[in-house]
Symmetry: C2
Subunit: 337 residues, 2 copies
């Protein structure tokens, strides 16, 4: 049905191999021959059959992206940027949603999803490092995010601790002393939650403010969970004058609940988030947050993964990359006035 390399070879009066050579930019090929082939390709409207190429070469030129939920704003923005970065290097991205479930993460890691992709950008939320090491196969995997910080894996992440510390310090600098941290539990150490909690505690210590476990409030990193957690807090007798939501979704959920309850932001309670999703800029009041260098994360994770796939990066030891961050001061937590 479709036109094949054989058709091109016949039309150009050369062998199959010659057409292949032209297609794959083989160096030593007579210009006249090359032109004949190119003419035939143009005339017949030939396009390489990607499936056949994949079967033979073992490469699909697709990158797998595993994340919990594409509808979460941070992941949606990240996926969009990753796809653009991959596209610029001639790769496509195939997305798999895990719902943060262990079984889904596992099947993305070892199932047919891996066949379809030359390498994986993996945001593990349920699996631990040993699970991953035991099931990641031979194709390259680059960890995205910060749940897994392990010398066995390449990792592209953000400066969680430093950025969380900067946000907390900013809240404290305006005179707040009772800063709720929303989305971590007292005692968390690993993962984004643990790292950000560490940054929070560091900033408290630096400002000689007390750390109060009652202000460490666990909740899922979604708007509804943030709203519910703040509701419970307001119903309790815990006093606070600021909230640090561990991502923007949580912070925006919190904002919603505060306003409904008649709590003024930032007058009564200052509020900050983490991620700098676009929505943060347009909230009312606009949300103070930290931009975790998403462009850099997208660019470098795709770059690293493709370098691994193509053998341009051969480091035996895992490569860890941390993108820079930037505090975005907005209305929900202005600087001291």
């Amino acid at each position: 049905m479709a036109v094949t390399m054989n058709d091109v070879a016949r039309a150009a009066g050369v062998s199959l191999k010659t057409v292949s050579n032209v297609l794959n930019d083989y160096e030593f090929i007579r210009p006249a021959t090359k032109q004949k082939v190119l003419d035939a390709i143009a005339e017949l409207g030939y396009e390489a059959n990607l499936t056949a190429r994949s079967l033979r070469s073992g490469k699909t030129r697709m990158l797998g992206l595993v994340l919990s939920d594409l509808a979460a704003p941070y992941y949606a923005e990240l996926a969009s940027k990753l796809m653009k970065a991959a596209s610029a290097r001639g790769y496509r991205v195939l997305v798999e949603q895990s719902a943060a479930r262990k079984d889904n993460e596992l099947s993305a890691l070892k199932g047919t999803f891996r066949q379809l992709t030359d390498g994986l950008l993996f945001t593990p939320l349920a699996l631990n490092a040993d699970d991953i090491a035991a099931n990641s196969g031979r194709k390259p995997v680059v960890m995205l995010g910060e749940h897994i910080d392990d010398p066995r894996f390449d990792l592209v992440t953000m400066k969680n601790t430093e950025a969380a510390s900067a946000v907390t310090a900013h809240l404290l600098s305006s005179g707040r002393r009772r800063v709720v941290i929303l989305g971590a539990a007292h005692g968390d150490v690993g993962g984004s939650n643990g790292l950000r909690l560490t940054g929070y505690r560091g900033a408290l210590a630096a400002a000689e403010a007390d750390y109060d476990p009652a202000l460490v409030v666990p909740c899922e990193w979604r708007r509804d969970a943030g709203a519910a957690a703040v509701g419970n807090l307001l119903d309790s007798d815990v006093k606070f004058d600021a909230i640090f939501g561990l991502n923007d979704a949580v912070a925006l959920g919190a904002l919603h609940e505060l306003i409904i309850r008649g709590v003024k932001v930032p007058q009564d309670v200052a509020l900050a988030g983490f991620d700098d999703i676009e929505e943060a800029r347009f909230a009312s009041p606009s949300l103070t947050t930290v931009a975790p260098g998403m462009d850099e994360i997208a660019e470098r994770s795709v770059g690293l993964l493709i370098d691994r796939i193509e053998g341009a990066e051969t480091s035996e030891s895992a490569i860890h990359i941390e993108a820079g961050f930037e505090l975005k001061v907005r209305e929900s937590a202005p600087g001291k006035s």
Copy 2:
């Protein structure tokens, strides 16, 4: 390297064809033979090579999804639902971002993207019906959204006109008379903008309110564009007491600008959007909008496309499906009090 069907055949002591028969649920196969094959598959950990299967069968079991920008909340939520619906039927979704550019839409329609997918869910924004008809090839395409309403194409869409009319009627019912429509131009007829404008005009007429072209304000359907358009409007001498943003992003951008300018919502200006993205529920004030039946759209568009691919749907004439909608009355435009 990997274990193949041949290995399975050898281990089970049967021919290749028999393994294939088991794999493809061929009916007439002796239970004992089948069991031998299944045992061998389990023992060897055999997994079918999808690429080889695709090359031979011509099917990839992937659906293409073409949209302008995965980071736009509506598309992010839709893509997530489409992927889940496809997954439930054993298909994956490969996403292509067009940036609403004609060249990108065209290459998604006729380029290698089509090879990789058995059918297309296509949200055309730049291409017209004739362009599409001329380039859509032989594999099925289902239009998503409403830009193209043409008897040549299957289409799954929402009740644009009726929903827009319902929103406008709601704004009018609370006594507003000067309703800005944000995101359409006077004279638009086709596309979401045109259809929604028609609904708006219908509601005005039904309420015996005047249609004033000065209230029809074009802008891109993004937060920043909505904010800018409202800024211009406030700087002009156009008077208005309500705004209908043609999607939630525009409405939320408008909301941001209104609040910055000290305009009270809904007291001074009532505001409504379109889409019911999750963000709308958590805005402050929460956004009155219309839910366009996204679950139904996802479910039915995937169902229709797969039925076309598998030949379960053979209708010669194009199938048009309109999902139901639901008005979501929230704080930004409450009912009459």
